[in-house]
Subunit: 303 residues, 2 copies
């Protein structure tokens, strides 16, 4: 397993008994990233067995209360638990102003630092083995973004026998080859990494749209993604209301998933009106088979 995605809140605007407010956790090699942090996210994490002290980065899509009000409780509890490591929060400008003003009042003495980074379209974070891109979406007048998580250093399958046969000394050279780098042996012989490594079949790529109307741009950014998590506030019979309010229907999401050739589609930001998944799924699965309605505490393992 490379990445585990856990839905912590899948409601739209207001919580329901079954669905908490928007928040998604990505677990990647021991660290946790949150995408949106609606009210209650810290307790949803507790219930999921996710440590809030492992959260390294939070990405907020836009300033509507249902997507951001859980940040303050997270910061409060992190301080109470004596967190010392740095926390990065990526968000549009208005969210950064909001967080800044709240920290002023509710902050407790604490050793840990929060770095607030204003988001723009393009690559906003580049780590050792993954990057995060933001893309502007259309959710009415306020600034709103979708995010793309992309693995950058997928390791292939290393052929030990062949490497030994070629006389490549065990150690750092093996690692370089596995990371996709060609090497030169002491005897001058060049070894191409593909000679001893079966390249990875795919790199993990997960797209989360936040709240948005259906957009051509989402198709571009989601091209061949492993997982697409798309706004699906309403079912297809309510597309007028959805678009007027800057949202998508489940059918919109399915059409985008199909055009982008993603592997699987998860519908989230589900209006409180739906007690059953049926109206959301019926048209969507006709268009795109691998469509699922996200539920709180549902986890998706990406290999």
């Amino acid at each position: 397993m490379k990445l585990k995605i856990t839905f912590l809140g899948t409601s739209a605007a207001v919580p329901t008994i079954k669905r908490s407010l928007p928040a998604i956790a990505f677990q990647w090699k021991g660290k946790i990233m949150l995408f949106d942090a609606g009210e209650g996210v810290q307790r949803q994490m507790l219930k999921s067995g996710l440590s809030i002290l492992r959260v390294k980065q939070i990405f907020i899509t836009h300033s509507h209360g249902d997507h951001v009000l859980g940040v303050f409780g997270l910061l409060h509890t992190m301080a109470m638990l004596g967190r010392e490591s740095l926390l990065e929060i990526y968000a549009p400008r208005d969210v950064i102003e909001l967080i800044t003003s709240v920290i002023k009042y509710t902050g407790r003495d604490s050793a840990f630092k929060v770095i607030l980074k204003q988001v723009h379209e393009g690559i906003i974070f580049e780590g050792e083995d993954y990057l995060v891109k933001a893309f502007k979406v259309d959710h009415g007048t306020l600034e709103a973004y979708g995010y793309v998580f992309e693995e950058t250093k997928a390791l292939g399958k290393f052929d030990v026998k062949k490497a030994e046969k070629l006389g490549i000394p065990k150690g750092p050279l093996w690692k370089m080859l596995q990371e996709g780098k060609d090497i030169v042996l002491e005897n001058g012989r060049i070894i191409r990494w593909r000679e001893v490594v079966v390249p990875p079949k795919h790199k993990v790529k997960v797209v989360y749209t936040g709240d948005t109307k259906p957009l051509e741009k989402t198709i571009e950014y989601s091209k061949d993604a492993t997982v697409l998590i798309h706004d699906s506030t309403f079912d297809h019979t309510l597309s007028k209301e959805a678009h007027e309010q800057g949202h998508s229907t489940s059918l919109d999401a399915a059409l985008i998933a199909k055009k982008a050739n993603v592997k699987s589609l998860f519908l989230t930001h589900i209006s409180a009106r739906y007690e059953s998944e049926k109206p959301l799924l019926e048209k969507a699965v006709e268009i795109f088979k691998n469509t699922y309605v996200a539920q709180d505490f549902m986890s998706v393992w990406v290999f």
Copy 2:
């Protein structure tokens, strides 16, 4: 039943799987008052079957995040649900500043008005049949209050037969007598209300301390109260830590309950370290028998 008290969150500082952050609902003749509003209060209300649209007044004890961060989600959802009626929030000055600054960012178009009232020691609200007093408590350097809810117009038992015998015409005069007012009949005869009304045995009085060290003042304000809800962050073996952090132990609370001659004591603001109620109860019930550890979703009916 006159008053129903529902504990919506009974943890201290950080939530646990079983306990959400501090919040208590009072249901009084169709309206709801909240005392503190920690993160997640709106969803706790949903799960308790309490309508957030019926909340008329919110009383916040102090500005620590665990007591106040649920206000924003409540306001957000009230706006989303199209609330039009007025909401009053009573709080210390720093909480009012915090709420004002958050509303600026997360506010949605909404017809309903929020009135923010700065709290001082003394009577802060006087309604038709109850009043609310605030009293300053000691929770370290920041401004913190406890609150007293007092019934002001308890109705006695009306003796219909005697009223008819005395020739008192049915109608408004009966109501006046039952409300404790003396009347004069058309024939000039004075009727004292006690002639036809058995006075109520007691008036409802509930005290909630918020976070505080044990105080003499709490005893004064809790005199003969029906219910005392007291800070009980730790058990008696940790009284040094409790007092240093501006909190009380369960034993402190029991001693105050006894001296104030209250009817029952509910311990709340329970540290996450306690999985069992036992260490909190053992000494406390020796001092004050009617001691209970509050739990999330526990309701207390006051008759």
